[in-house]
Each structure stands twice: as structure tokens, then as C-alpha cells.
């Protein structure tokens, strides 16, 4: 089976739709010279897509460009190029892939040049590197830059003050900057309309993610999950296309459940479910398929992941709220996974292990992302103690192919799977 399906991965209609949506957005971005549309660059955590749309502007996400280049095996050369120009080996590889892309003509996947942004919107400050990244871009483009300071949930909660502070910045700084750059007056009712669509799509996304609670999960909530979060985390939240996408996706998953099917993989349906895992940390993008294969070949399904919450923790109840538009945008920025403190992350992971009946938590620690990686080993120990389930730790990188050692990762994964199996056997022998 593997030999003839590898080349041609199976595509469902949701996948085709998402592909078309992404292509259309890149086409819109690369034709601003003709259309005259303005572009805002921003990040996935704290992505204010609905607000950007209120000003008829396009949303460009440098992180997504880096991921795209990673998956298309182009990031290695881009990173080397950035290093050649003086960026150290230890710097975030998303940043270097982006800077390398710029120096190579900023070519989008459609082969056309990306436009210079008209506005840099830094709407999430939990990652300090984001700030430096945009500082470098501001230096390059000399365009208007807005910083929305989002307080970190250091004490594990969003306070009234924190929310008010973000809302005040939206009103006093962010919206005026958008009006200035776009020449479009802010209309809060337009925002409400978008947020209504966001919430509808979010409901269906949550339904899809939670379908993994079925034992014999119909989805993989990490490798498949990164596709499912695609539209909502990027330039489509608040659009009718996203609403349609999630409706189609939900329908597909409903069918999978009815047919008793497991997750779909690039080589077809997963025939068996041997291990149910919760994964913490972003995936490796440069060897994404190879990495995924190490899981599905062993019948390992990821039933919940935290990476699919970096652009919003919807499964814990948050929805964009048309009744409280600016407040809900503030809550969104404050609540995304990367803005949560270590005890909150531990709580969420423990909850996932329990609710999704997982065998344990696997951490993919990212070499070049200190923001995500700091404290992960301590988190693992705590989760192991609290859940009584074994954890495991692997180390890769986001988009630097030099930091993906397949033999090493495979060795650790197989050891982990066999460890779970051995403990199961010991457990059943003792029972």
C-alpha cells in the first residue's frame, strides 16, 4: 500500500477546500500592486484577523510562511542565508527562515513576490522574539508598527485590569493606526458580524478536536490537527469560507465515526490504534511526513495536543463574542496557550490525559524556541506524577532541517511506545 499511495496523498474535500483558500490568500497578497489592497503582517498567537478585515486589509503571517517553506523543504537554505548575514545559529528558526525569504525576493508559494507590509501588528507579546522579529522587519520596511502589549498570565488568570488594559490599547492605539493606514473608518458592527462567524466556526472546530475522545479516535489531533486549525489560526477566522470549511470537516469526521474509521494519514486510513498520546510542543515541519509516519506506523494516535491551542484555547470554553467584541478580542489574546503559565499548561495536559484516556504525554522540545521549551522537563515530571502515566521527551526543531535527527527521534519514540506496552503488560499481570 505504502509504495503507491505515498506519492499521491489522499485528499478529502475539506483538504481541497483549505488548499484553495490558502492559494487564494497568497494570490490576493501577491496581487496588491494591481488591487491596491493594503497588507498587515501579524502572528498566529493573538491574531486579530477579524479586526484586520474590518479595514479591508489582507493578513500576512510570517510564521505561516516559514512553516510553508519548511514543509516544502526550502527553509534550510533560507536559514543558512540568514546566518550568512549574521544571525546566530541559536536564533529562532522561524525568524531566520523569514529573513532568508526576504533576502531571496520574498517569493510566495505561487511563485510571485510578496508585497511589503503596510502595517506590522504585534498583537501578542508573550514571545519576546516576536518583538525583536518585527523590530528587524520595521528596520527593513520602515512601515508603521503597532504593538499591543498583552500581559502574561503569570498568576494563572486573566484579571479585569488585564482585559481593560488590552481593550484600551485596541481603542487608543491599534484601531486608530489601522484607520490611518487603511483609510477605512472602524465599524464595530462589521466586527460583530465577523465575530459571529468566528464563533460558529470555532464550535465546529471544538467538536472536531473533541471527537478524539472516542476510543478509536477518528482524527489525529496533532498531525491532522495542524491542518484542522489552519483556517482558524490564520487569515480566515471570521470569514464565511472558514464557516463552510469547518462544517464540511465536521461532516467528514461524523462519517468517519459512523464508519468506525481511524484517522486519515498520507498513506490512507490508520488501520489500528495501539497508543493514545497527548503531545506538547509544535511539530517539526521540515520532516513532517517522516515524523508523522513514525507515529502511524506504530498505531500511535495523538488524541490531544497543546500546539493546536497556540492560536486559541477554544476547547476550554472561549468563543469570540459579538456582544462584547473588543473584550472578546482581548480575552482571545490573553488566553492563547503560549500566554499561559507553567501550572496552567500542566493542568491542561493532565486534563487531556484524563479526558482523552491517553497513555501518556509526549513532549517535542524545540531547540530554537526557548519560549515554548523552558520548563518542559519539569512539566513532564509533574504530569507523570499526577497522572501516573509515563512521559517521554524528544528534541527537534521547527524549520531547521539540521536539527531533525530521524534515527534519534525514532529510537526515542519506539522506546516510549514499547515502554507503554511493557507497563501495560506488567499492569495486567499484576491485576
Amino acid at each position: 500500500m505504502a509504495a503507491n499511495t505515498q506519492a499521491q496523498a489522499i485528499k478529502e474535500s475539506s483538504m481541497l477546500k483549505q488548499k484553495a483558500m490558502i492559494a487564494a490568500n497568497y494570490d490576493a497578497l501577491t496581487s496588491t500592486a494591481e488591487t491596491g489592497r493594503k497588507v498587515a503582517s501579524t502572528f498566529v498567537p493573538g491574531n486579530l484577523n477579524e479586526l484586520i478585515m474590518c479595514f479591508d486589509m489582507l493578513n500576512n503571517l510570517p510564521e505561516i510562511n516559514a512553516i510553508n517553506n519548511g514543509m516544502r523543504k526550502k527553509s534550510g537554505a533560507l536559514i543558512m542565508d540568514a546566518e550568512k548575514r549574521g544571525h546566530s545559529e541559536d536564533v529562532c528558526t522561524y525568524v531566520k527562515a523569514d529573513l532568508g525569504m526576504m533576502s531571496k525576493g520574498n517569493v510566495a508559494p505561487n511563485g510571485k513576490a510578496m508585497p511589503a507590509p503596510d502595517l506590522l501588528l504585534l498583537s501578542y507579546t508573550g514571545c519576546f522574539t516576536f518583538m525583536k522579529w518585527f523590530e528587524l522587519l520595521r528596520h527593513e520596511y520602515g512601515c508603521e508598527t503597532v504593538m499591543l502589549q498583552v500581559p502574561y498570565e503569570g498568576d494563572g488568570q486573566i484579571t479585569r485590569n488585564m482585559r481593560d488594559y488590552v481593550v484600551k490599547q485596541l481603542k487608543d492605539v491599534v484601531i486608530p493606526a489601522f484607520e490611518r493606514v487603511s483609510g477605512v473608518k472602524f465599524d464595530i458592527d462589521r466586527l460583530r458580524e465577523y465575530l459571529k462567524q468566528s464563533a460558529e466556526a470555532e464550535d465546529n472546530l471544538v467538536w472536531v478536536l473533541e471527537s478524539a475522545k472516542h476510543v478509536r479516535s477518528p482524527i489525529d489531533a496533532y498531525f491532522g490537527g495542524v491542518y484542522y486549525i489552519g483556517p482558524i489560526f490564520t487569515a480566515f477566522r471570521g470569514t464565511t469560507e472558514a464557516v463552510d470549511y469547518y462544517r464540511i470537516l465536521r461532516g467528514e469526521i461524523e462519517q468517519r465515526i459512523a464508519a468506525g474509521q481511524g484517522p486519515i494519514t498520507p498513506e490512507g486510513d490508520m488501520p489500528e490504534e495501539n497508543f493514545r498520546l497527548v503531545v506538547e510542543g509544535p511539530p517539526n515541519w521540515t520532516s513532517f511526513r517522516e515524523f508523522w509516519k513514525m507515529f502511524y506506523d506504530e498505531g500511535a494516535v495523538v488524541v490531544a495536543s497543546t500546539y493546536t491551542k497556540v492560536g486559541g484555547v477554544y476547547d476550554q470554553g472561549f468563543r469570540h463574542d459579538p456582544e462584547h467584541p473588543l473584550e472578546s478580542l482581548a480575552d482571545y489574546c490573553l488566553g492563547c496557550y503560549t500566554n499561559r503559565n507553567l501550572p496552567q499548561r500542566v493542568d491542561l495536559l493532565c486534563k487531556y490525559v484524563d479526558e482523552y484516556q491517553a497513555d501518556g504525554v509526549l513532549i517535542n522540545s524545540i531547540k530554537s524556541c526557548n519560549s515554548f521549551s523552558a520548563g518542559q522537563l519539569l512539566m513532564m515530571r509533574e504530569i507523570e506524577t499526577r497522572t501516573g502515566k509515563p512521559g517521554a521527551f524528544i528534541e527537534t526543531d521547527l524549520v531547521d532541517p539540521r536539527y531533525f535527527s530521524a534515527a534519534n527521534v525514532k529510537n526515542r519514540l519506539e522506546s516510549y511506545f514499547q515502554m507503554i506496552e511493557q507497563r501495560r503488560k506488567a499492569g495486567s499481570a499484576a491485576a
Binding site: L377, A392, N408, N411, E414, S415, Q422
Partner: protein
């Protein structure tokens, strides 16, 4: 009899362990991994079955009255002569292969001269190398390539002086041939070799004070025992290359954990420093792995680091530990990156530091890195078992003991002389359990 085999395909050596139904180790075998894992696994397995036969001989000969005191000597002599038989067979194979390769069209004008040179070389080799197997001689290595290679080059250099064939051609022939010989499956018929070896052992020198037949019969009986490979489990870096179905392959981390548990049942923490990786493993009271950490991506601070340093200093690997033990102080080496450490080494030498003191620093650097991996896996819990090739290095062990005491207090540290077989032992036990479950 039912035999359970564990094979550990490491980056440097391949190890095999044969176990019986009760879980007793019958034999161990080791070979260099080469680039051919199939052959390495076959050779190590054959070696382990040879050792198994020797165990059976021992069992058969143990009760012969009057032999008890000389049993070890007889068995030692038997094994030595058996190795000689094997060695001569391989040497003959090498000669034949060299001759065939010498008939290559490239050498068309020199066929006769090459044949004559090879004849000369191999006559000398047979003579000199057989001496390696006389009583009391310590061989530098047990691997055919090491033993035959050094001598071949030495003899060929001399022969080339008086021949029309130049040294490079003779060296080329050797290089090409040794790979073919090494990768050829060993001949399966070992019984005759055992019996020939026994004949030689009995008449080599001193008399054993028992009638030949009294010894021969138990050996023949032991040879009649059918050694059935009931279940084989493979592990180690090369495991995916083993021609086994998936369920016969286990992760080396699990195998090391279980192997250490079998050697020392009270083991809770295992440190394994192998050729290309360092593993810190925590096991429970049943030898089940609870946690593990290993080096990521690069092999800094592993066995290969010492190999590289040895090369840099023009020393043998086994000379590093003893040299470091002579140190009067420990020079600080910051880098466990193999390449950077080479630079630091030269830098320290240039500054006039003594080689012994630098060596002590390098050993400390390795162990410091291992300590970091152990602490990430959950620290050291009594008892602590140290395995892998580096466990044979006294300077590394000394440094480890010191650092474990400083960081974790008094802990029992186990180092088994057979620790290189830990992974294979665990694999054999997995094989035994799998067969029992089936």
C-alpha cells in the same frame, strides 16, 4: 534444547547472548559491526553459539574425576585451538579471495608476479599468525581483520621490495578482499573444528591425566545436543536492518534497562555510554523502564569522542584511561563537542599542560555530560549500574564515582565485566518471555 537469542547491533560492535529456558546465559559473542549488519548479526550469533557449546562441554566434563583441577586449562586450550581452526579457515579464504581479485584484468600484465607475491605473503602469514594462538599469548584483538590486517601490511611491505608488484597494489588487493571475506557468512560446520581442536588440546603439551576417550565422549555428546534458535530478539541502532519481523525487535533502551536489572536486580538507574549515544535510564523493581533520556543529535561525549582523542594523540583507545589515571591534576576541558575538544586538547598541550592531566580533564568532561543526561532522566537512585564500552575505562569510572557521590551521596555502583552485553542480555530475556507468552 531451546535457545533464546538477543542480538545488540551497536554502531561499533555487535553483541549476541544465548539464554536457556531457565534464563541462564549459555554463551556470549561479539564482533565488529562492519557496514554489513546482516553479517555482523550472523557472526556474533555464531560466536555466542560457540560459547554455548563450550558451556555444554564444561557441563559434560565437570564431573570427570581427576580432571577437575585441570578443567579450566583444558577448556581454555580447546577454545584457543578452536579459534585457531577458525582463523586458519578465514586466512585461507582471504588468500583465495586475494588471488581471485589478483586475476582482475586491470593487472593483466602482472598476473604471475601477483600470484607469486601472494604466495609468499600468505606462507609467511600462516607461519607468523598461527603463533598468535600458542598458549600464553595475549592477542590485541579478537577480530580477524585486526589480527590479519596489521601483519599483512607488514609482510607485504617486505615482499614488495623484492617483487615486481608494488606495495599499493598488494594493499589494494587486501582492502578489497578483506571486505568480501568479512562479509561472507562463517562456515556452519563447527563440530569437526571442535573435535580437531580437542585433539590438539589433548596432545599440545602436558597430559591431562585422563584417557582421551573419557574427554572425547562427553564432548561428542554435547555436540549432539540440538541448539534450537527458538526466538531471536534484535536491538541496537542497526535493529531495523535485521532480517526479523517487527515483533522481534525491541528498543535498546528497554533492553539495557532489563539487562541491567538481570545483572543487578536492585538496579534503579542505568547509565549506558556507547559508541554514539549516552543513555540515562530509570527502571522499576521489575526492570521495566520508567523514564529515559539520551543525547540528542550529536554524539558529543560518547565513546567515539574517546576514539577521536586517541587518534589525535596517536594512542590506542585502551591507553587513554590508564594515562588519565597518572594525572596529578585535572585540566578543565569545556567542550564535549568532539571537534572542539580536539582543538582544546592541542591548545592545552601548547600551553605546556601534561598529557596525563589533559586526559583526566577529557574524561571528566565526558562524565559531566553523562551526569547531565542522568539528571534529566530523573537522577541517580540506588543502585546505579554503569554499562557500555566506556564502563571499561578506569578513569571514566573514577570520575563517575566521584561525581555520583558529590551529587547523590553514597550509592552502590555496579559495573559488570560483561557489561558490554547488557543490551543483548535484555534482548535475550525479551525473547525468552515472548516465547513463554506465545
Amino acid at each position: 534444547m531451546k535457545c533464546f537469542v538477543g542480538i545488540d547491533l551497536g554502531s561499533t560492535t555487535t553483541k549476541a547472548v544465548v539464554m536457556d529456558e531457565q534464563g541462564s546465559v549459555l554463551g556470549r559473542g561479539i564482533t565488529n559491526s562492519r557496514s554489513n549488519y546482516d553479517t555482523a548479526s550472523r557472526v556474533s550469533k555464531m560466536e555466542a553459539f560457540v560459547a554455548t557449546r563450550l558451556t555444554l562441554f564444561r557441563r559434560g566434563l565437570e564431573d570427570i574425576p581427576g580432571l577437575a583441577e585441570q578443567l579450566e586449562e583444558l577448556l581454555g586450550s580447546l577454545e584457543r585451538n578452536f579459534r585457531l581452526e577458525l582463523f586458519l579457515e578465514q586466512l585461507q579464504d582471504l588468500e583465495q579471495t586475494c588471488r581471485e581479485n589478483g586475476r582482475d584484468l586491470r593487472f593483466a600484465s602482472r598476473h604471475k608476479a601477483i600470484a607469486a607475491a601472494l604466495e609468499d605473503i600468505f606462507a609467511q602469514l600462516r607461519d607468523k599468525l598461527a603463533g598468535l594462538f600458542t598458549p600464553g599469548i595475549r592477542r590485541k584483538s579478537d577480530f580477524f581483520r585486526d589480527l590479519a590486517g596489521a601483519e599483512y601490511m607488514h609482510v607485504a611491505e617486505q615482499v614488495a621490495k623484492d617483487s615486481e608488484v608494488d606495495y599499493e597494489t598488494l594493499l589494494n588487493l587486501y582492502d578489497k578482499s578483506i571486505i568480501q571475506v568479512e562479509n561472507r557468512p562463517p562456515s556452519e560446520n563447527l563440530d569437526d573444528k571442535f573435535l580437531n581442536a580437542l585433539e590438539r588440546a589433548l596432545h599440545e603439551g602436558r597430559a591431562f591425566g585422563v584417557a582421551d576417550e573419557e574427554v572425547l565422549q562427553p564432548v561428542r555428546d554435547a555436540l549432539l545436543v540440538d541448539l534450537d534458535e527458538t526466538y531471536v530478539v534484535g536491538t541496537g541502532y542497526g535493529r531495523v536492518r535485521l532480517p526479523f519481523p517487527k515483533e522481534h525487535i525491541r528498543s535498546e533502551i528497554l533492553c539495557h534497562g532489563l539487562g541491567a536489572h538481570l545483572m543487578y536486580p536492585r538496579t534503579r538507574t542505568v547509565l549506558d555510554i556507547g559508541g554514539q549515544d549516552t543513555k540515562g535510564i530509570q527502571v522499576d523493581a521489575d526492570g521495566i523502564v520508567v523514564n529515559f533520556q539520551m543525547n540528542d543529535r550529536c554524539a558529543a561525549g560518547c565513546g567515539r569522542y574517546l576514539g577521536y582523542i586517541a587518534d589525535e594523540m596517536k594512542l590506542g583507545l585502551h591507553e587513554l584511561g590508564p594515562m588519565a589515571m597518572q594525572a596529578s591534576k585535572t585540566v578543565r576541558i569545556n567542550s564535549t563537542c568532539t571537534v572542539f575538544a580536539g582543538a582544546e586538547l592541542r591548545d592545552r598541550l601548547a600551553l605546556g599542560e601534561k598529557r596525563e592531566d589533559i586526559m583526566a580533564g577529557l574524561h571528566r568532561a565526558i562524565i559531566l555530560r553523562a551526569m547531565s543526561i542522568i539528571s534529566r532522566s530523573g537522577g541517580v537512585t540506588d543502585q546505579f549500574t554503569f554499562t557500555g564500552g566506556v564502563a571499561k575505562n578506569e578513569a571514566a569510572v573514577k570520575e563517575l564515582k566521584k561525581l555520583v557521590r558529590e551529587n547523590y551521596g553514597e550509592v552502590t555502583i555496579n559495573i559488570n565485566p560483561e557489561s558490554i552485553y547488557t543490551g543483548a542480555l535484555g534482548a535475550a530475556e525479551f525473547a525468552r518471555r515472548a516465547a513463554a507468552e506465545a
